[in-house]
Symmetry: C2
Subunit: 123 residues, 2 copies
DNA sequence: TCCTTATTGATAATCTGTTATCGAAAAGGA
DNA sequence: TCCTTTTCGATAACAGATTATCAATAAGGA
């Protein structure tokens, strides 16, 4: 036997699906406890790591803030980071092309765009 | 007497000027030791904090990497982050407008763009 | 130059986020 | 159901970045 299906892993995936936006480990814990009340933070970290390795979820890196996670398989997009509640929200797909801004000599592989301000709730 | 002019602070500002790109505290230490060989890392952190507070330098926040610092007073611009040497480089001014990408209900205040790939040296 | 006191340099302490440990619980094949 | 082995949950330990401590040094005004 290799990997087992646990209620905990399902709860974590369920939390990310339900939230519809990138969550940090602590946020995942809160959401997923709806499904598994006794869920522990170590289990969240463990499963998040495995799910990233297996390609089921994706790491969202943010300037000046800790990592969030979102379900994989979405097309290229970026995020909005609320300075008040610290929540992160998904934006619609990105069609920007930054090759023109890239100085000669540099080889551009990817880009990250983050918008800041207030989310609807905090406005 | 309130604040004194020290060789150390001058060396730190000199390092940032000479490098011409955002530096982290450890990088600042290396560069600035050209001017003050016995410079300590605590002094770098102390001065960096004061210089940010006094508005002489600016914090550069990067996704998935620790903070860098650059001289203040430049016009709005973004950065290129080399995945090989971890160096950060300044790009020419940004004229992007992301208000069209901002969903209704959100209030956009600022944005951050980071390009990734290889710098000329690492290419 | 002298003296006061901000600043330095070395290092211990702290902080935040994450991983390791280990006995208890539970997945799932026989 | 039983048994093996993965996974869990609580918490200790760790890692990297940053800040605090404190005796020694050095600005810079008198």
């Amino acid at each position: 036997m290799t990997q087992r299906n646990t209620r905990q892993r399902e709860a974590i995936l369920g939390a990310l699906g339900q939230a519809g936006r990138p969550l940090g480990p602590q946020e995942i814990l809160v959401f997923a406890r709806q499904f598994v009340p006794r869920l522990g933070i170590a289990t969240v970290y463990r499963n998040v790591r495995n799910l990233v390795e297996s390609g089921q979820i994706r790491v969202v890196l943010l300037p000046g803030s800790s990592d969030r996670y979102e379900l994989a398989g979405k097309h290229h997009h970026h995020h909005f980071h609320c300075r008040e509640c610290d929540g992160v929200f998904e934006l619609d797909g990105c069609d920007e092309d930054f090759s023109g801004v890239t100085p000669s000599g540099f080889s551009l592989e990817r880009h990250e765009v983050t918008l800041y301000g207030l989310c609807p709730v905090c406005s």
